[in-house]
C-alpha cells in the first residue's frame, strides 16, 4: 500500500482496522499516526473501547495463568488417558526400584 493510502486509511480507520491496532499495540510500538487512529476511534466507539478492555483482561488472565499453579490445575480439557497413566506409573516404578 502506498504511504498516502496508508495515511488515508488510518485517518478513516474502521472498527476492523482498530481491532488490529489494539492487538498490535501489545506486540510492537505503534507509530504516531496509528496511535492517534486507535485513540481517537475509541473515544467515540464504545464497541472498540470495550474490545480493547477485553483484550487487556485476556492478557491479564494469561499472565496469572503463567505464574499460578492453582489456575493451571483448574483448566478444562481431557484427562490423562488410562493407558498412558499405567505406562507412566510403570516407568516411574521401574526408575524407582532401579
Amino acid at each position: 500500500m502506498s504511504s498516502a493510502r496508508r495515511i488515508w486509511r488510518l485517518l478513516n480507520a474502521s472498527c476492523h482496522d482498530v481491532s488490529r491496532l489494539a492487538s498490535e499495540s501489545f506486540d510492537r510500538e505503534l507509530v504516531g499516526l496509528e496511535r492517534f487512529a486507535l485513540r481517537s476511534h475509541t473515544v467515540y466507539c464504545a464497541a472498540c473501547r470495550r474490545y480493547e478492555r477485553q483484550l487487556r483482561f485476556v492478557r491479564a488472565a494469561l499472565c496469572r495463568l503463567a505464574t499460578e499453579t492453582a489456575l493451571a490445575q483448574s483448566l478444562g480439557g481431557p484427562a490423562l488417558p488410562d493407558e498412558a497413566r499405567e505406562q507412566i506409573k510403570r516407568a516411574v516404578e521401574d526408575a524407582e526400584t532401579f
Partner: protein, 205 residues
C-alpha cells in the same frame, strides 16, 4: 526402595497426571507427545526430589519441570524446521466484521467486575477449553508470547515467521479467545451459574 516410596510416586501420577497432561496437550496438541513429556517430568522429578525439599507446592514443582520440557521441545522443533512459516491459519477474523469494517456483532458487556471472574474455578475450566480450540499455528505463537512471555522478536525467530505474520496470528488468537469467552462464559451466565471461589476451594461435583 520401600513400599512407601513406590506408592508415593503412584500417588503423584494420580494426583498430578491429569493437570500436567492437559497443560502439555494445550501447548503441544499431540496426545502421545504430551504423555511422553509428562512421563519425563515425573522421571526427572524422581531424580531430583532430594533437591525439591518442599520449597514450593508439589504441583508447582512438577509444572515447573514440565514447562522446561515444553520449552526444550519448542527450541528443538525450531531448529529442525528452518521455516515453520506459512500463513496464519484459522477462521478468518474478517468474519467478525462486515464489508465496511464494522462489527457484525459488537463485543458484549462483561459485567461490572470481569476481573472477579479470575477467582472462579469454573472460569478457568472454560478458559482452558477456549485455549484448546485455537488452531495449533495460532496457539504456538500466542502462548509463546503470552504464557512464556517471549518478546515478539523471539517468537518470530523461534517459529521462523515474519513480523506481519506473527502480528496477524496474535490478533486472530486474541479475537478467537475473546469470542469464545464471550459465548461460553460471559454470554448470559452470572445468575444461572454457581461459582466456586478458590478460597472456599470445593470443586463442583
Amino acid at each position: 526402595m520401600s513400599d512407601a516410596r513406590v506408592s508415593d510416586t503412584e500417588r503423584w501420577v494420580d494426583e498430578h497426571g491429569d493437570f500436567l497432561y492437559r497443560f502439555a496437550l494445550l501447548r503441544l496438541r499431540a496426545p502421545d507427545l504430551a504423555a511422553d513429556l509428562v512421563q519425563e517430568t515425573f522421571l526427572e522429578a524422581l531424580r531430583s526430589r532430594e533437591r525439591f525439599a518442599g520449597r514450593s507446592s508439589e504441583a508447582t514443582w512438577l509444572i515447573g519441570i514440565l514447562k522446561h520440557k515444553i520449552a526444550d521441545h519448542f527450541r528443538r522443533a525450531a531448529r529442525q524446521t528452518a521455516a515453520g512459516a506459512g500463513s496464519a491459519e484459522g477462521e478468518p477474523v474478517d468474519s467478525d466484521f462486515d464489508r465496511r469494517g464494522h462489527w457484525r456483532v459488537a463485543p458484549g458487556q462483561w459485567g461490572p467486575d470481569p476481573e472477579g471472574e479470575l477467582e472462579s474455578k469454573e472460569f478457568w475450566e472454560v478458559f482452558g477449553r477456549c485455549l484448546s480450540k485455537l488452531p495449533k499455528a495460532l496457539a504456538d505463537a500466542f502462548l509463546l508470547r503470552e504464557l512464556d512471555g517471549l518478546s515478539s522478536n523471539e517468537v518470530q525467530d523461534q517459529l521462523g515467521i515474519t513480523p506481519a505474520n506473527l502480528w496477524a496470528r496474535l490478533h486472530r488468537s486474541r479475537m478467537h479467545l475473546r469470542d469464545c469467552l464471550e459465548s461460553s462464559w460471559f454470554g448470559g451466565k452470572k445468575s444461572s451459574r454457581h461459582r466456586t471461589r478458590f478460597a472456599k476451594g470445593i470443586p463442583p461435583a
